[in-house]
């Protein structure tokens, strides 16, 4: 779990929101390659907004987001994708009337190199459940399988930073274990920085290098996974666990 000195992605005093609504009011933290970060907080604290802001779906109103040392606050989503930031948002985010194969190809939409087919094969190796259904429509698959597909689609751009919004939502326990295992290995093997928002905070923190607590649009605490899991205040307020 070596953390690079220079963070891969860094947020400095980020403000963002919708219309007249201000959601993020100064969020700062940095993540390095090969690490998993869990963002936790109450419902409505601004966690999803944070991911959308990093991906560029929402404008940074104040502060700065930098990637590999350069500011990306002014870039649009397409440029950020090409730079290597991908997202799997909450809710269904695939093309229901296309086959799995087409969906994966669409995942690589911003790429024009000839490594796409190889990566596609690599994906189905990594997510074997997709292999047998390559020619079925995405909309006909179960929720968990679609969740896998969406993660695979995001990986098709070979991201350096992967943003996951509630990857375990609605999954059965077996699937959750599988998803968390893949997340950990993606970070370790591919050297990605993964930032995920999870309500299933205990399990998420167990595989995380860094935990970030968002409260009222600001970072109220950070720490390593184990630190978080043992912090009595966090256990009580966010994890729903008894205080040791």
């Amino acid at each position: 779990m070596a953390v690079e000195k220079e963070p891969l992605l860094e947020l400095r005093d980020v403000h963002a929101g919708y219309g007249e609504l201000s959601i993020l009011k100064g969020v700062s933290f940095g993540v390095g390659g090969g690490t998993v970060t869990s963002v936790i907080g109450a419902n409505g604290a601004g966690k999803s907004t944070l991911l959308k802001t990093i991906f560029g779906m929402l404008k940074v109103r104040e502060g700065d987001v930098s990637f590999e040392g350069r500011s990306i606050a002014a870039l649009g989503t397409v440029k950020r994708l090409k730079a290597g930031i991908a997202i799997v948002p909450q809710g269904r985010c695939n093309f229901p009337q296309m086959t799995i194969r087409e969906n994966l190809e669409m995942g690589a939409y911003t790429r024009s190199d000839d490594g796409i087919e190889a990566d596609l094969q690599h994906m189905v190796d990594q997510f074997p459940i997709l292999r047998e259904k390559l020619h079925l429509l995405a909309g006909d698959m179960s929720g968990g399988q679609q969740q896998m597909l969406e993660m695979a689609m995001a990986l098709m751009v070979r991201p350096r930073v992967l943003l996951l919004d509630e990857p375990s939502l609605g999954l059965s326990p077996m699937m959750i274990d599988e998803v968390f295992t893949s997340i950990r290995s993606l970070a370790e093997v591919n050297g990605m920085a993964i930032i995920m928002v999870e309500q299933n905070a205990v399990q998420a923190l167990k595989i995380s290098d860094l935990g970030v607590v968002i409260e009222l649009g600001r970072v109220s605490a950070t720490g390593t996974g184990p630190e978080m899991l043992n912090d009595p205040d966090i256990r009580k307020a966010y994890l729903g666990l008894p205080v040791i």
Partner: protein
Amino acid sequence: MDAISSRFMRDYGWLLILLVAAALVPVFSQSNYYISIGINALIIVCLAVSFDLVVGRVGALSFAQPVFYGFGMYVAALLAVNLEMGFWWQVIAAMAGGMLLALVVGIPSFRLNLHAFAIGTLGFATIAHLIATNWMEVTQGPMCVAGVPRATIPLGFMEIAPWKLPQQYYFILTIAAMVVVASVAINRRKLGLAFQAVRDDPVLAASNGFFPTSLRLTAFAVAAAFSAVAGVFAAQFQTVVCPDSFSTATTVTLLIVAFIGGRASLRGVLTASIIFTVLPQVLRIADEWRMVIFGLLLLVIVLSAPDGIEHLFQRVERWRKGRREGGKASGVSAQPFAADTIADITPLGAEERIDGGHLRISGLSKAFAGVKAVDDLSLEVRPGELVGLIGPNGSGKSTTLDCISGITKPDAGRVELDGIDITGMSSSALAKRGLVRTFQSTRVYETLTVRQNLAVALHGRQSIMAEWASYLSPQSESRSFRERADHLIETLNLKHVEHRKAGELSYGQRKLVQFAASVISPPRVLLLDEPLAGVNPTIINLFMRHIAANHGAGLTIILVEHNLGVVVQLCERLVVLEQGRKLADGNPHDVMGTPSVQEAYLGR
């Protein structure tokens, strides 16, 4: 007394001012031209307000509104010319006939989904126009019914003879004012909330016990009656009725007025009605460029103020309020929440003991596109039982709930509630019988506040008689509702957002609202579809206490949930599904120990 009158002025003051201003028009202008423009504007007001009732309030784009207007015109013209019938008969025939016609058009049209509804009503409008054009014997077709007399209006103690335009003007003004007041009244009563609920989410409304089609038909029929009455007056005013009197031009004006006004906004619609009837007349100075400029202005208005006139009003209001309060910003971010500070969770007045329903499912099957989602499933849930329904993704849990709650019709099998066959009953009817569900995809009424979400849910759950009897009562909260709502809102950490629109809330907060709405009125059977997914762990504890409390009060509950810790802790019985079939059924300990369950579900 003072408080009441000041509230009245706040709510209706602007309407009164508008009414007085409108009443003064003929005093300042004796010109028949300007008065006739005023009459046209008032007729459009009547039509636009009724159009808004259908399009804005219940959210169904209807192209049939001019049909009812034309129907009213023809009824008045034909009754007056052929049968020499008096004014009140014309009004009664137009209203009754208009409502009947609305049912004839509405019953098939509302079976269509909302896009198709637009084309369906367009079809009916075309058919109506063709009948007016071609049924020569009655309507005289394109030859028009001419010479419609301006009727005298007997009021019992006196007769009014509005044969001159200013008198006509005041007459139509009275009608327009009545239509507007009726619309305001509907909006401020419980009926208005129910309309809004049906517009926001008909599926949720049905599962709350409303019959969305009946409500839509009600709005449609009331709007038809308004329009038909406007037609009676228009016939008297124009004295000639032709098939083209209710053609596309009327529809275009109505669309513009309703959408530029801002949906379901009375003041927006009124303002737009006046602007868009006066504007084409003002543009007469432009001669042949008139309609070009009209179109261009319209385009500029839409593109520069796309949120409509209502939005401008709101901005002005916010600006004024902001000046008063010195600009207090607000956010929706949630407070961290200490669950153990909540002392007591009671299900809706703890003294009540609920008589839980007895659910028996036998041989249930349902396939989508050839894939069996539920396959010959039989399951009995005894009164007061809390059953956990678990299984891998895609194993048919949600489909089973859909089949039980009347959202989907099963292909085969039978569902019984307390010995009565409820297979294929609508979710509205089932909700009335006390069978309530929540949705995995989380449904709330997005434009209603959290409290209103709860109030609507409570309203729909009453018996049909009580539901319809109380539609015209004000929206004020009853004491028993306030107690229950306060308790739920307090204990689900929703206090700080209780007056926010549900559409502004985060995913997890919506889950909480949805749950609160499902238990605001004690159900007998409660089906919970992944209520905990995406909910903060601290809230999960609360949720568990809520579920346990409801269970303790005697409810029959089926809980679909992936959070095994919760399920095992709460449920006395677990049912595991796989590929639409029952894999295991028994107490949690035994079920979790079954090797096949471990393999299929837990992956250990």
